[in-house]
Structure formats: C-alpha cells, structure tokens
Amino acid sequence: MSTSYFHNFVKAKFAQQRLVVQPRMGFSDRERMRNGLLAVKGVQAPTIGTITLDSFTRSGDFASASRAIEQGLSLNGYPIVSYPQSENESLIAGIREIDFPVQIRHGSPLPVEIFKATIRAGIDAIEGGPISYCFPYGRIPLARSLDAWRTCCRLFGEASDDPWHIESFGGCMMGQLCPPAILIAITIAEALFMIENGVKSYSLSLAQGTHPAQDAAALHALRQLGNKYLGPESEWHIVFYTFMGKFPQSFDGARALIEESARIAVEGGAERLIVKTVKEAHQIPLIEDNINSLIWCDAVASATPRNQPVTPEVAAWTTQIFEEADFLINLLLNLGRNLEEGMEKAFKSGYWDVPFCLHPDNHCLTSAQLDEAGFIYWSDPGKIPFTGHIKNNAVRRKKKMSSGELLQMLSFNQQKYDGRCVAKEPAMLH
C-alpha cells in the first residue's frame, strides 16, 4: 500500500470535482494538537490536517523549544524536532490515514532537521522552498538556503519509493502587492529544483491577490506553465491561498474575503485551498475559527460551477501573465550552467527582483502598485529586461508612491471587504 497519502488524496478529490481545504494550525501541547487535527478530520468536507511548527524550531533554535516544552510553556506551533520520534508518531496515530493526510508547515530557510524529524515520523508531505522560505523571512544568504534545500529534497525523495510530496511556497512570497508573474516564475523554478533533486510529487502555489479576475487568470497561466516546464500532471497539483495580507477586521468582511478565495480556487482550477480565519486581523484563531473557514470554503467551492468558459477578460490576462512568467523562467534557465546558478545569477543581476523584499540578495529596484480596481501591475520593472509587447502589457510606469499610498494599497482588501469602499471596475484598464 502506498505511503503517499497527501498527493493521492488531492488528486482523487479533484477527480470527484471537490476542492481540498486545509487550515493553518499548530500547538505545542500535544493533546491540543491532536484535538485540532481531529476537529479538522471531523469536518464533512475533503480536508487535510496541518501541523504548523513554532518559531524557535523554524529558526533552528531547538534548545529554546525543548526548554519551553520542559517548562510547560506554550509556543506558537508544534516543535517537531524537540519531541522524540515516538511522541511525534503517537501524535498522529489513529488520525492520519489515507482519507486524512497530514502536512508539516514551517517557514525555515535551513530546514534539514525539520525534514529529518518529518521523515522519522512517517509524514509524507511538507512545504517551503529555497527562495520562498529564504527571501521574505530574514537574511540567510540564498546560496546557503539552496544548499540546505538541496539536502532536504534529496532526503525526502529518498525517504520512500512512493511519491512523497513537497509544496513550493513560491506563489505566496510577500503575502501581497506582488505581480503574479514573478510569483509563478518562482514557484515553477522551485518545482524544477525539487524535481532535479529527486522529489517525485510537488505542488505549485499562488496566493489570492486584490483582483479576483487577475487571480483566476494567474491560476490558469500557472497550470499552462506547469504543463510546459514540469513533469506530467499526475505528479503535481496547484494550491491556492486565501489572501495573506492586511485582513478585513469585521466578521462579515473577513468571511466574504475567505469565501471569495474558494470561488477563485475553483474557477482557476486549483485542487487545494489553504484558508485563513475571521480572526486574522486580530489574534491567533481558535480551532473553531478554522473549522468555520473550512466549512464555508467547502460550501462555496461545491456551489461554484466547474469548467466554465472563461470570460474574454480573464482569457486575455491569462495570456498576458503566461507570457510574462514564461519570459522570466526562460531567462533564468538560460542564465547559468545549471538551475541553481541560474537562480543565483537571476537575483544577482536584478533580472529577477521581488518588489518591496528587503532581503540582502534581492535588489529591490522593482516596484508594484494597484489600480483602482485592485489589479496588481509593475510600476517600475527595475532591471528586469521585459521587452516589446510583454513590457507594454506588464508595466505601467508610475511615480514612486508615498507611505500613505502604500498603506492604502496594502489595505485594499481590508477596506473593500469591510465595506468602507467599493472597488470600481474602470471602463478601460490599459
């Protein structure tokens, strides 16, 4: 019997036209973590359990994590490295099964010990990536992150003959205000990196932005690029994320944004959705908040018609985002003698550049803005060598924005869904 529960489950549910929904959830107390997993499993929907790790473990400070559990202190996640293998195994015993896979989520640029503990616990799914878990979270050099992730991918690929799964977090970089083409390029590049290092099953990610039609188009473009650059679709799927930026503060506003993400996921053809909760703007959610989000998203996903013809607008944006991301990927693949050298050179030259990302290896010469409808575009391409009609479509040069304008753009979804401002569709977008 196959030990790869995660990817098989997602693919099987997709064949039944069901969107898999998954929370973020992590507790240091094992009893509570078990209760959380059981509650997610109990939802009448295709769900996957999540074990999110704590920030000591993420940053490699296992001593502090161990001390905290010895003293009975509560951490902001589950310290998988500090608990012995037997306790990690008993955490999921009787819970994790073919119909209820579990994924480890962390956020570490140097995750070798986390991968080892995950493999020892027999868990077949994890996530991250050498760029996406390096750039937004700190200052570890990209070269060191690539070294660590190479080791991790090989360990995970060799852990089983079955296709154990790694999800690329590349489509979620920065959480908001990032043009989808660079997100797509990064998640594709990370998937290529995983394949090259022996990973047999992987997922591509994308986070909800500020314009539903642009998001749906980006998901379609991601599917097309996956087919162009990666292995057969049996090896991979697409995971969409509920908006990760400044969240609506009201219950109704937050719920509307969460439900919108489920609709977009189905319309864009994603197989899996990672949800947020109505507490996002305020505090760490309860298990119950997560359960509510899962139920709402499943209901909306089930009610959303599948395989509908896309509007001409979405079709046009799909082509545009495809060309832009394709250009970036192609550029990277031709920059070095191999993929890793290409990744390093792409950022070193500024040909790949993530707007507003302060990591020392990112030039940060690019900039992005929103138009009045929430559509994300490059307001300054920096050194990215877009040319011809790709450049004309992708770039709308604007003056530098003020701190107030930046705050407005970061608050776009918050204001839109809290009902303080209704987004207007301009007659002409170009």
């Binding site: 920030s55 937004p136 700190g138 200052r139 920065m174 990302c357 302060l358 701190s403």
Partner: protein, 143 residues
Amino acid sequence: MKPIALLTTIPSDSHNWNLVFIQLFLQENGFEVINLGPSVPYDLLTEACISHQPDMLIVSTINGHGYIEGKELIKRVKELDSMQEKPVFIGGKLSTDVNMSYLYAVELESAGYTRAYCNDQDLQDFGQRLQHIKEQAMVARQA
C-alpha cells in the same frame, strides 16, 4: 546633506512590510534611511550604529516580542558612546496583547527609548518629533 535614520527590528521579527512603510515615511520627512531589513541580530545593529553614525534609530516590530527583545536591544545600543545622546524609538505591536502593550511601552521608555509607540495615532507625534530631530541634526552639523 540629510540627517540619517537607521531603521531596524528585533532579532526574532521577520516582518517586512512595516519596514517598507516606515522607510517611506522617514524619507518623506527628510531623512536619509538605512534600512537593515527583517531579523536583525544585535551585533549587526551595533556594527551599523558604529559605521553609519545615525542621527536617530527606529525599531519597528510587529511580531509581539518587542517588549522582550526591545529591552535587550536598547541596553546594547546605549552601551555605545556615539548613541548615548541619540533619540531611539520603538513602535508597532509591542506584544500580542493590545492592552498590555501600553504598559510595556512605559517599561520600554524607562529602559531608555525616547518614545515607545503602540497606537496608530502615534504616527502624528512621531512626525512632529522627526521635524525637531531634523532641525537639531542640522544645527549640530553646522556647529
């Protein structure tokens, strides 16, 4: 020449957007900004204080650990001769508890910060202080 603002955060804070926003705000208020980015170790910060000789230091943090690491940070910064008289601000989400943050702000100020901010309205006070610091920095340079 513009006065120099050194912008940093506490070692455990990996957030990015708050630093991007404050950088723009400081630039609009006439400062040259050196932004150290997220997750800044204490040593990197003290080295930057020595090499850049800033006119002021701003610690922006939103991960809720500001009330812990903010104290260690100010202790290390105030050990530097060049920083003893310089204004140092901390602001953002100082702890995970909104109400407790006001009390922590008082603690942080008695630990050596010029001001500790934990409220959206505080940006106005900060803006006014920036004008004052700018004028003082100019006077000091001419002297």
